[in-house]
Symmetry: C2
Subunit: 141 residues, 2 copies
C-alpha cells in the first residue's frame, strides 16, 4: 500500500469521502491491499426502492462499483486512479431496505488493465454479484 | 398499452413514482409502447460524484436500469412485473453533474425472457451504454 494514494488518504481522514460513497453509507470493515480484497458495509435506504418495494437493481450496481473500485484503489500508487470501463451485474435475490455487506477482490492487476469481482450479501445470503474491468491511469497533476 | 398496468398508473399519477426514480429525478419525455422505446430525463446530482468529481459509474448504471426497465414496463399488462436479472454497462465518457438523457428500447420481448438496451447522453455525447435481461412475472395478488 502507498499511504499517499488518494484511497488511503480517504481511509485515514486526510481527504473527505466521495459524495457517492456517502449516499450509499459506505464503511470499510476490512482492507487487505496485498491480497487485493476488501469488505464494505452499505445501507440500502428506503429512497432506493422500486415499485415492488425492493432495492432498485441500479443502486445495487452502484454498491458493487463502490466495492470493487476500492479493492483496486487500495493497491494503487499516489497519482494513479482507475476508472471502471465495464460493469456486469447479476441480480440473484430481491434486496430489502437495510444493511448490505459487500466483498470485492482484484482478480488480475495488469500494468494498466485490471479485472475485478464483487458480491453483495444481506442476512448471510448473496443478493447480487458482479465483475468489472478497470483501467489504471495517471491522474492529471 | 394496458392503462391498468402499474407503469401507466404511475405515468398518469394514479400511483406514486418509485422512490428510486425520485432520487434520480426521472422524467419521462417520450414513451412508445408499440415500438418498445422510451426517452427519459435524469439529473446527475453532486451527491453522485466520485473522488475525481465525475458521476460514479454505479449511479449511471442505476439510470440505465431506470431507462430500460420502464421501456419494458410500458408494454406489460396489469398484474405483470419484470425484474432485471442481469445488467451490463459500458462507461464510455466521464459524466458530469447535470442533466442526463436516457434512451431505452426492448430488443426482444419473449413470453417471459426479455432483452433490453439503453444509452445515456450528456450534451449530445453518449456517456454510457448497457444491455439487460429481464424476466416477466405475475405480481403476487
Amino acid at each position: 500500500m502507498d499511504k499517499d494514494a488518494f484511497f488511503w488518504k480517504i481511509v485515514h481522514g486526510e481527504l473527505p469521502p466521495p459524495r457517492a460513497a456517502e449516499v450509499l453509507s459506505i464503511k470499510f470493515t476490512a482492507i487487505d491491499s496485498d491480497a487485493g480484497t476488501i469488505e464494505v458495509e452499505f445501507f440500502a435506504r428506503p429512497e432506493f426502492t422500486n415499485p415492488a418495494g425492493n432495492i432498485q437493481g441500479g443502486f445495487l450496481a452502484a454498491m458493487l462499483d463502490d466495492t470493487m473500485g476500492p479493492a483496486l484503489a487500495a493497491t494503487l500508487a499516489a497519482g494513479q486512479f482507475a476508472p471502471t470501463l465495464n460493469l456486469n451485474v447479476s441480480f440473484e435475490r430481491a434486496a430489502k431496505v437495510g444493511p448490505v455487506l459487500g466483498k470485492g477482490r482484484v482478480l488480475k492487476k495488469g500494468k494498466d488493465v485490471c479485472y475485478l469481482a464483487g458480491e453483495l450479501y444481506q442476512e448471510g445470503q448473496r443478493i447480487a454479484s458482479a465483475t468489472a474491468t478497470a483501467l489504471i491511469k495517471a491522474a492529471a497533476p
